[in-house]
């Protein structure tokens, strides 16, 4: 089964991978360790999980504006997500994604958390504003 959701392009490009879904907001600064790509914020629902090569789904960013540089450092270390989907993005994540060349879509026309589960295979085509979701690691 394949679901297609339309959204708004924020950062261009295409990317795909296994979805990693967080229902809570994310601060990249103090949230992710750029060298390992692991979530290191104590008590965060993604604590201990790696975002490397995954499609990261979360509502919006929060925290220090230095978070943009953390995303850039993750891209340099090869630990960045392959794409990002937000409910409604904000400048820290948006700027971080653009400078790092990570595709980013926000304002999806359907509820993300009803449509995407951690482990689903997701394709993001930001240029077209398209999100493709296939359950059980397949499209």
């Amino acid at each position: 089964m394949k679901i297609i959701i339309h959204g708004r392009k924020i950062s261009k490009g295409t990317g795909e991978g296994i979805a990693l879904v967080s229902r809570s907001a994310i601060s990249f600064f103090g949230g992710f360790d750029p060298k390992s790509g692991l979530m290191i914020e104590k008590g965060h629902e993604l604590e201990g999980m790696s975002v490397k090569g995954k499609v990261l789904v979360f509502p919006y960013g929060r925290g220090s504006t230095a978070g943009s540089w953390i995303l850039y450092a993750m891209a340099e270390y090869g630990t960045a997500p392959s794409a990002i989907i937000n409910v409604q993005t904000e400048p820290i994540v948006a700027v971080g994604a653009i400078v790092s060349g990570i595709p980013l879509i926000d304002k999806p026309e359907q509820n993300l958390f009803d449509s995407i589960n951690t482990g689903d295979w997701v394709k993001v085509n930001a240029d077209e504003g398209l999100i493709e979701i296939g359950q059980n690691n397949r499209i």
Binding site: I10, S68, W69, Y72, A73, A94, V95, V99
Partner: protein, 414 residues
């Protein structure tokens, strides 16, 4: 967003990949904030040149932009660095920090960034006019030029200001629009404001009370505040909250526009008392032991008037800095050049103080100096001292701080 032909060509990469990346950032921000078009800016001020905050990732990104040979299209000035780039060795900065910092600084220079290295660019060569649209980072400078000059800028981050400097554009939203510059909260002052540190405390107090996009109108300040009072106030209010613009009755230019300060727009009235000001001094003095080994004056960077005042206090009373204390006086190279010619620097250095240029109490890389208890007359420096520099702060007036520098002890404020 509606883009002009030149903006579209920048976005499409026709004019180089640096302009393209910058325009992608600005278009995304415009989309996020619901802006319909870009507007030209007359200047930018960029904060991300400090290695301490932007790190090796920031350095790499700026070098990649500089390699495109695209240059800033408008006057773009730079915020303080993480070291004193001239006297780093004698002040005891680490060579590694100096080298890392100068790689980043050199990349900004290649882009055409003007190396003022100050948070008070409006004192030394980047002075916008009333009504100018600009794109500045550094929250204290943003709120100062918005309010005291009446220029128009949003509170940009380092990267969005960099993108605006490159393209000469910023998305048209927020404080660029006249209707968003209306005062919404009336502040009635009943405190006795006697020094710039009192203004710093007043700003910090109000910043915690103002939420979202509130614009305060301050009334009844007593004597007319000086430029130094206003820069201290700007740093304070921008530290504890998101405030971006204020008006002061009879002082700031837009306070004479009856539509911007109409009482009917005021949603709230806040009364400020002496106790509110004293509470900020207490709240930000989180150090426990009263022995002082570090005193920092110059957040925001000092004006020539302030340096003259400090020099004259040391000279008049023949005071000497306690041998275990480092007293750092922070300013830009430009102002220090004047202080040197005036003999102010000599007076401060002979008293045992040190003149520190182009860095600041928050951004300087001083962890390796193992300093512990820090006295300052700036709410912003006290606020950031624990997280940015592992220092335990005391916040007081200039007199309190000079007394601490001379005795090596913090005297409890009454």
């Amino acid at each position: 967003m509606q883009l002009s032909e030149e903006e579209r060509r920048m976005l499409d990469g026709d004019l180089g990949s640096g302009y393209q990346k910058a325009m992608e950032i600005l278009v995304a921000l415009g989309e996020i904030y619901g802006s319909e078009k870009m507007i030209p800016v007359t200047s930018a001020h960029v904060s991300s040149c400090s290695y301490k905050t932007s790190g090796s990732a920031g350095s790499k990104f700026v070098r990649s932009l500089a390699d495109t040979e695209n240059k800033f299209k408008v006057l773009t000035t730079l915020n303080p660095l993480s070291v004193d780039d001239e006297h780093w060795m004698s002040l005891g900065f680490a060579e590694e920090d100096f080298k890392n910092q100068m790689i980043t600084a050199e990349a900004y220079r290649r882009l055409g960034g003007v190396c003022l290295y100050t948070c008070t660019p409006y004192l030394v060569g980047n002075l916008p006019k009333f009504g100018d649209h600009i794109a500045w980072a550094e929250s204290e400078a943003v709120i100062f030029v918005n309010s005291v000059i009446g220029a128009r800028t949003n509170r940009e981050g380092g990267i969005s200001a960099l993108a605006a400097g490159l393209t000469g554009r910023t998305p048209f939203y927020g404080y660029h629009l006249y209707e968003n510059r209306k005062a919404t909260v009336l502040i009635e002052n009943r405190a006795d404001l006697r020094s710039s540190s009192d203004y710093s405390a007043l700003g910090y107090h109000l910043g915690t009370l103002l939420v979202g996009k509130e614009v305060p109108l301050l009334t009844n300040l007593g004597r007319i505040p000086s430029i130094e009072d206003l820069k201290a106030f700007s740093a304070g209010i921008a530290t504890s909250g998101n405030a971006t613009l204020f008006h002061i009755e009879g002082v700031t230019p837009e306070s004479t526009d009856s539509k911007l300060v109409a009482k009917v727009n005021m949603k709230q009235k806040i009364i400020v008392s002496d106790e509110d000001i004293n509470a900020v001094y207490r709240k930000l003095s989180t150090a426990i032991q009263s022995d002082i080994d570090f005193v920092g004056i110059g957040c925001p960077h000092l004006s020539i008037t302030e340096i003259g005042e400090i020099a004259s206090i040391f000279e008049a009373k023949r005071l000497k800095v306690h041998p275990k204390v480092r007293l750092w006086i922070y300013t830009s190279s430009f102002i220090k050049g004047i202080a040197d010619r005036m003999g102010f620097s000599k007076a401060i250095i002979e008293a045992g103080g040190e003149m520190v240029c182009n860095t600041c109490p928050i951004l300087a890389c001083i962890d390796h100096m193992a300093l512990k208890n820090f006295a300052t007359n700036c709410a912003k420096a006290a606020h950031y001292a624990p997280s940015m520099s592992k220092l335990n702060p005391f916040f007081g007036t200039l007199e309190d701080c000079i007394n601490a520098a001379v005795t090596g002890e913090w005297k409890e404020r009454v």
